[in-house]
Structure formats: C-alpha cells, structure tokens
Amino acid sequence: MQRFSALYQSLDETTSTNAKVDAMAAYFRTAPPEDGAWAVYFLSGRRLKRLVGGARLRRLLVETLDHPEWLTLACYAEVGDLAETVALLVDGDADPGAGRLAGNDREAAGQAPGLAALIETELLPLGGLDEAEQGERIQVWWRRLARRERFLFTKLLTGALRVGVSQLLVARALASAFELPRATIAHRLMGDWQPTPGFFAELTGPDDGSVAVSRPYPFFLASPLEKAPDALGPAAGWLAEWKWDGIRAQLIRRRGRTFLWSRGEELITERFPEVVAQAERLPDGTVLDGELVAWHEGVLPFAELQRRLGRKRVGPKLLEAVPVRLIAYDCLEIGGRDVRDSPQVVRRASLEQVAAAADIELSPLLAFDSWTALAATRDQSRALGVEGLMLKRGDAVYEVGRRRGGWWKWKVDPLSIDAVLIYAQAGHGRRASLFTDYTFAVPDDAGELKPIAKAYSGLNDAEIRELDRWIRRNTLERFGPVRAVPAEQVFEISFEGIAESSRHKSGLALRFPRIRRWRRDADAASIDSLADVRRLLTLGGSASPLAD
C-alpha cells in the first residue's frame, strides 16, 4: 500500500506528463504482479464498487473523534473531500512521532500489507460484514495506516478513487517498463478483465497475437476543429458525415457471440437487445464502430436515449417507446483481421459491404464539392437533430485515442442566452474553498426569476476568484452550503440543446450548459426572458437526416 501511495503522491504532485509516465514505469518495474494488476486497474480509471456510503463514513468519522459533530462537519466542508478529511483528522499509529520505519521499508519488512493484500483480504470482505463490525474494522485501519494511506484506503471504501492519468498514459508507462509496443498494451487494457496476477502477466508478456473474444479496440477520438476547414487542405481528400447525437459504441461479433461496448469501456450488450439482434447477421470476426441513437422514424433527441441508458434491464414498454439502433461508421476488424491500419476509404468500402449484407444502418457520406458547400450542409444540423459534421481524411488510419489529424469534429455553434446569477455553492475537491457551482435564472412572464441552468465551468481562475469574493461580500441568505446573491451579475450561458422538462422549475432542460462569458456590460434588466428561451425549443427539433 505504501508503494502505491507513494506513486499516487508523485502523480498528484506533478503536472508533467513525462514525470507521470516515469513514476508509473518505475512502479510497474518493481511492483509484485498482484499489486501491479490492481495499480493498473485504478490508474486506468476503473473503480471498486462502493463498499460504504458517504453518509455512513461521515457518521463513523464523527464517532471516531472527540470533536463536536458540527466541528467535524465544518472540517469536511472546509476540505471538500471526505477521505482527505478522514486522513487529516484521525490520528494514526503510524503518523509522525510514532517511531516508524519509512513506507517502503515497512512494506518490505512485511509490517504493512501490499496493495493487493489490503484490497483482497481487508477491504473487499468489509462489504459482507454487519454495520458494527464493519465500522470497527474501518476504525482499526484508519488508525493503523499513516495519513496518505488512510486517504487512499478511505477513497477505496467510497469507490471514488480517481487518479489524474489516462489509460493511454498507463499504456505508455507499461510499454516503457516492459519494452512492448504501446498499441499492444493499449489493446490489452481494453474491455473486461480482472486485476489478477495472471492478467498482469498477460498484459506485460510478449506479443503472441491472440485476442480475448470480447476485447474491444481502443476508440479513435476526433479533435474539435477550431479553425475554418480550409486549413485542412483541398476538400477533395476528405469524407464528411453527420455528427450523431447519441453514444459511441463498438459492436463485436466473434465466435458466434456479440459484445457491445460503450466508449467508457462498459459492456452494455444486455441493455440493447435490438442491436444484438442486428449483430447476429454479421459474420464472425467483425468489429464495427458507430453511434447508438434512439430511433423512431428518424433520430430522437438525446433526452430520449437517456431514458434507456440508466437501465440495466429494459422492459418491453420502454423498448417499444424508445427503440435504439446502431448507426455504423467504421469497421476495425473484418474476417478476424485487424484492419485499423487500412486507409479510411478502404475501411469504408469494407463497412459498406458488411453492413449491406447484415442490413445494418450506415452513417451516410455527405456529398460536397467544396468547403463552402459543406458549410451550407452543416447549417442544417440543428434542424436535423445532429451536432454538426465529422470530417475524416480519406487516407486516415484508425488511431488509438485522441490524435489530431485524421478525424475532426466540426460542431454547430452552441445556443446561448443571457441569464443572471442567483445562487452559488462551493465546489468539491480542487475547488472546495471557492464558490464555483453557479445557478442562473431568467424571468418568467410575471417577472419572477426561474432557475434555468447550473454551470460549473467557463470562467478563468482570475474570474472565479473575483466572483468568489463578490459572492462572499454579497450573500443575502444561506441555505446550508448554498448562498443566495442579489440578481446582479449577468452571464452568457452556452448550451448544446434544449428540451421540455417536467423536472425543472423553468419547464426546460439545457444540455451541457456552461458559461461563455461574464457580461459585465449587461444589467439584469436586459437578460433573456423564459419566453425567449422557450422559443429556442423550435430550433432544437428533430426532423430526421436519414430517410427511414
């Protein structure tokens, strides 16, 4: 545990990508395989199920300490992170002054469990204990571990351990530690695996070309196009498609079995039986990349698709109300062969063949003879319910992760409104001591302010601090952690879409709202009204870009 904790600290203390990769590589070279497997598991963003809820841990912390409850909770409010609050408030036997060996020495001397041992023999069994016994065990470990380990242990309990590295960086580190191609590691890290010593051995062993039947390929991610497309050179070398407003998915058909993976590498096969039925017509050794969209005589708004996303099991009613299909736009494996290195146009031709034979929906290629003509096509996006265009270079290979050059997303400009700040709340983690979570409102017909959006991003650090000071000085009322402020500060809020919603006081739900700018020039009398915002609904409609 100390070794992993030391690694966690080095990763936490640097913003340099190279330093992170070096630190991980150094760890992997020396870690026992059972610990290495768990380290890969956490570093690549996987999480344990939550073993103990936050409310219960808060209670346990209050019971552990001699402080009055309100004081412990005030500490939590100051720190903004429960695991860190525990780490700082509990006195551990191994904390400074307790006469101890340094971390690695203790681990080597067998006085402290390694990462795998701690998780497998101490942490996971906690889930099966009754509350009292569980609480006692947790308290024992809180005291037994030193401050940094106590922090990680508590993070693991809540299932919320996050490390600021990407799976690709982990792959780089492993590749460097074991002298293997990065792409090999990236592929082996995909999909469903258990953090066992066997997995770690397979992950870091020589390349024998075999692929687990369910294993997906790393997704190729498009970069946002920040300039006019002229910068990409002549239009003739490029393919264009709609950018679908659904969720990215990879459909695998191998050895008579079907697997559907989300971009977050979640196996979602069972949630989409209609897609599985489609896939049965595909030949073995086929892997397609595409978008899952809600579909009924055309693409339905994303809000409809969301009704399906949260469900593990889909009832017949919902299945009928919100049918989903895969719109395929690439193929990564044909006849059991990895074709990611073939040019885009070649993969597209293979895709068209295989999709036609299996009656799978294709993302159509848009005809255009100039960037100007394509820009005109893009202007129809909002009316068609798509996010804009995808531009793919004809000779682009299918890369791993976000690589600039081959694929660009050319999204439509976001919608925007002017709204006024009415509530603010402190953020969490990195923003725990600043008011960074804002609620904005617009007036209804009676002139009463109705909350229209919450936004957490879009201001720079200097603006955040300035607004924070203003909020502190101008607090009208406090409701728990929330502060009400005078309706004076106006902000332009951007968002990607708008839909009716019975769950919001304004009757409207905005998609991806964020602050575009602080309108110091505007006063609250000049902001948009709820009626103005409602009018945008007609823009977000969803005629279909595909004839069904």
Partner: protein, 334 residues
C-alpha cells in the same frame, strides 16, 4: 455600564482609557503595532510603538521614522493603562499586546504561532482576563507537520530539481516565512540561494537585527547561474515577467493552506509545502486555555467557529470583525 477596555472603533481596536489603537487600519494619533505585515501595519498614523526588533521592518513598511521600539516586557504608560509587549513567535519583532488597567488585563494576540522558529523569539503565554485572538486556521484539520520534516522536503525537492538542472523557485512571504525557511535549511546550503529584491531587503534587516541566515544573493542576472539554484521570491512574483529569466523552473509555495490537496492543486505550483507562521488548531486551543482568559474575542479566519467551540467549552466567546487578513492564500486571495 462602563465601556470595555478595548473596543472596536471605525479605525480598529481602540483603548479609550489609554487613547491608543492596536494595529489600526486608518491613521490615528497613537498606534501600537503587533508586527510589520501589511494588514497589521498601515501608514499614516502620527506615532508608532512596536517591539525593538521590528522597528526597522516597520520603518521600511511605513516610510515613517516615528517608530518607537520597546523591549519585550518593557512597561509603557498610556493614560490609565499600562502596555507591555510579549513574544508572539510570528515573525521577527512580533508581539502580543498586554493592556492592564481598571483592574483588568486584556491581551491582543496579533498573529502568533507555537512552532519553534529560529528567526524570532518564541511565543510566551500571557495570563489575562480577556483575550483577543486570531483564528486564521481555527479548524481541527489544521495541524502543522514538524518544520524540520518540511525543510527536508524542500531540500529534497530542490536537490531533485538541481540534479536535472532545473531552477527551484520557492514562493513565500517576503517578511518572516522566507527568512524562517532559509534558516531551517542545512548550513552551508548545497548550492547557491538567490533572492527576489523584496526578500533580500528583509534578509538584510534580519541580519542587522542579529538573526543568522545563510548567504543569499539578490537576483541581478550578472554572472548568476540559476540551473542548480534555489530562488526565494514573494508569491506576487509568480507569473510576472521577472520569472522569465529562470526558464522552465520548478515552483513551490510555502503556506499553511497547502495542507489541503484542493489548494495545492488549484494554485498551479508544482509543489505545496505546509509551513505557516500562524498557530494551528492545537496551538490556538492551547494558547487560549493557558491564557486563563474568561472572555475570548476571535478575529480573522474561522472566528465564528472558534467562538462557538469556546462557548461550548464554557467560555464567554464571540467573534469580532476586524480587517486583518490572516494568511494570504485562503479563501480566494492570492
């Protein structure tokens, strides 16, 4: 009812019986100053009184030569009251102000800390009836690590950077923190230490007052090689054109706020070192208890929380609103 011995006027903490202010934020005829930080020592008053070792610091801050120096414990009579200064352990020349009169003793703590600091006299508890205390870090999460451990961290960080020929720029308050950090480093230091002009000016005053500091040299771009050096600069220099000469330097920040991970990450320094010249939670509680005060007024920082905590322990306690700021870097400052 008689007015309290010390009360809050529009200009600051005021003692009517002696007709003087303590750390006033507006110009007044007579100002007793606890220490030379900007939020406690403001210009424009006619006469200043401070601890002897703080006189030069205060003169530099105020541009005034009307500063009288007192020894710790030296008695000063103002009207009906007797004023003495007692070590606060905050920075060189920092003092708690004891005011005795009308059969009562009041103490204004100013800023103080309980950890050892080789650059100033250690805090001494002063028995009193009423204590006006700072509350910058008045939450139990704030418990400072041993200074020697932090100094070792700084040294290791510096040496790791030096091995890669990357300059190490350490940001800390020009007055107090910078000198304390320098004094805590091993002597002689393993590589040259350079300073920002604001730090070097204070270093010189500390040396004049007899405080032992390692050799430092003001950054002047002559034939100075920063590749293996430690550079000590005030936080205000971060991101300024002055920094350009160090290229892609590693940056560290010394502050009590660096105890919290969110603060460390949000500030954008490569490393945060937990060093504060304010009392941590155990330090505050112990100082209040050992003063024997029956009434405690709390100012700046977590004054509401500290007052509530003390009330629940049976003391008469209340927050008082001053314009002192505590340690910059809290809330949103800096």
């Amino acid at each position: 009812m008689r007015s309290p011995l010390i009360e809050l006027s529009a200009s600051g903490l005021y003692c009517a019986a002696g007709d003087f202010h303590i750390d006033p934020w507006r110009p007044v005829p007579r100002a007793v100053i606890t220490h030379a930080h900007a939020d406690h020592a403001r210009p424009g008053s006619q006469r200043y009184f401070t601890q002897r070792h703080g006189v030069r610091l205060l003169e530099r801050r105020l541009g005034s030569d009307q500063v009288a120096g007192l020894e710790y414990g030296e008695r000063l009579r103002f009207g009906e009251v007797e004023v003495t200064l007692h070590p606060a352990g905050h920075v060189l020349g920092s003092a708690q102000v004891r005011v005795a009169g009308r059969a009562e003793v009041w103490v204004v703590s100013g800023d103080f800390k309980r950890q050892a600091d080789p650059t100033c006299a250690p805090f001494e508890p002063v028995p009193c009836d009423v204590l006006i205390t700072e509350a910058t870090f008045a939450l139990p999460v704030y418990r400072w690590p041993e200074t020697a451990d932090v100094a070792r961290e700084v040294l290791n960080w510096w040496q790791d950077n030096a091995a890669r020929r990357v300059p190490s720029v350490l940001f800390c308050y020009a007055l107090g923190k910078a000198q304390r950090l320098l004094a805590e480093l091993p002597q002689p230091p393993p590589a040259p230490i350079y300073t920002h002009g604001a730090v070097e000016a204070i270093n010189e005053i500390y040396r004049t007052e007899g405080v032992a500091l390692p050799a430092t040299e003001r950054v002047d771009d002559g034939d100075q090689d920063y590749a293996r050096a430690l550079i000590v600069a005030p936080p205000g220099a971060a991101g300024s054109p002055w920094m350009k000469r160090f290229g892609d330097a590693a940056t560290g920040f010394c502050s009590g706020w660096m105890l919290l991970r969110g603060n460390r990450r949000r500030r954008g320094y490569d490393r945060g070192f937990v060093v504060s010249d304010h009392a941590d939670w155990p330090g505050l509680v112990d100082s209040i208890e050992s003063s024997g005060a029956r009434r405690v007024l709390t100012t700046h920082g977590q004054s509401d929380l500290l007052a509530r905590f003390l009330r629940e322990r049976g003391l008469d306690a209340a927050p008082v609103a001053t314009e002192f700021e505590g340690e910059a870097g809290g809330d949103a400052a800096l």
